[in-house]
């Protein structure tokens, strides 16, 4: 099945797993087995080896949090438009969390969800980048340049919901229960999150890129504030101006005025 329709809603089907190593790996396997469909969600009550960045582990207490992966068809997007997609996913999680936790919710560049100075959620997106086949390429372009396309995005989302005890190594985590004092049903919250993802994904489909970037910047953590960043071994202070369409962090008051992710680290 190579042509994908977008009739299906995000969160259908909703696969609920008792325990899995990583929902992103599970989603990857679904794609590999050609069982994936746009909008499919894999939710785990217990993720045993949740993926953080490059070998970092997203460790959470079982049965307390949202840990899920959404499979989205992104073949209509160009590779250079990736950041808009990234921003849209961060905004979807922000919209959801803000609805319960209020205006102290923000997006920490590039895509963590913060409540005040504490981390409430994280996103890890993995994609498959392939190429148009020769036959397809002929119809599209006469140049001999190969056309890279990203067919799928797997959006892994982790949000702290009912957990109140965090590992001592995690310095600044916060959960929705700690903020509101209430206990939540994680499945119904996860399904609600899907509706927010759908809304933001629609903006990507409609190419409302300017609007997405504006919203992203509006909710950017520490915007117009002094922060400490670290570039390799050197820490410095600057003020955050915003993020541009390529996802670069724009700052004031330092010798360099824009940074790629990976070039600098936060010093909080």
């Amino acid at each position: 099945m190579s042509s994908i329709s977008y009739i299906s809603h995000i969160g259908e089907p909703f696969i609920e797993l008792e325990s899995v190593d990583s929902t992103n790996n599970y989603a990857f396997d679904m794609i590999q087995a050609k069982l994936a469909a746009h909008g499919m969600v894999c939710f785990a009550h217990h993720q045993t080896k949740g993926k953080g960045q490059r070998g970092k582990i997203w460790a959470t207490e079982p049965n307390s949090n949202i840990t899920l992966s959404v499979i989205l068809n992104t073949s209509f997007l160009q590779l250079h438009q990736q950041f808009y997609f990234n921003a849209a996913m961060a905004l979807a999680v922000l919209d959801f969390f803000k609805n319960y936790a209020g205006d102290a919710t923000s997006i920490k560049w590039p895509n963590d969800i913060y409540w005040n100075d504490r981390k409430a959620g994280g996103i890890l997106i993995e994609t498959k980048v392939g190429y148009h086949t020769q036959a397809e390429t002929k119809n599209i372009s006469t140049t001999n340049k190969s056309l890279a396309v990203w067919n799928w995005a797997i959006v892994g989302i982790g949000i702290n919901i009912n957990q109140t005890q965090f590992n001592a190594a995690v310095k600044n985590a916060v959960s929705l229960k700690q903020i509101t004092g209430k206990e939540f049903n994680v499945i119904s919250l996860a399904k609600e999150l899907c509706t927010y993802i759908e809304k933001r994904f629609e903006q990507v489909q409609k190419e409302n890129f300017t609007q997405l970037l504006e919203s992203y910047n509006k909710h950017l953590f520490k915007r117009n504030e002094e922060v400490k960043l670290k570039k390799k071994n050197m820490a410095f202070t600057c003020s955050i101006k915003g993020v541009n369409e390529r996802g670069e962090l724009l700052v004031d008051g330092y010798a360099q005025d824009s940074f790629l992710w990976g070039e600098v680290e936060w010093q909080l």
Binding site: Q53, R54, Q82, I125, G130, Y131, A148, K232, W261
Partner: protein, 157 residues
Amino acid sequence: MDLKQIHELIKIINKSNIGEISIEDKDGKVTIKQKEEQLVKVAAQPQQIYSAAPMPVTENTVPAATTPIVTKAEKSDNYITIKSPMIGTFYRRPSPDKPTFVEIGTEIQPGKVVCIIEAMKLFNEIEAEIKGKIVKILVEDNSPVEYDQPLFLVDPA
């Protein structure tokens, strides 16, 4: 080389630990030297080194694709270059504790994942579009890459 290419090259050199580079083609020779203080600054941040691949600056070696902008060398043999479809960080492994996707000698075919390029915490698994055998890996694991930068040389035979 036109001005634009030279400009691009300067930008790349600026970010790197390369002190001096010369590139010669039919139109002439361009030498770019980096100011020493700039170099020291970069050298003090070892992980940022652009590419630790051997620098092909000596006269008698073919400037293979270890320099970012070389297309001629690729034409002189039959190897096909796999280039980076985006700016980002190049990874040879799915995660630091896992084996590499490919090594020299690995047979690849369309759809085979050859590397990951991360851009803004978004991890792109890059699939090969051709069939062949990896003969050279042109970029160090965990280093920044530019758009269109050669990553692998493939013998299509």
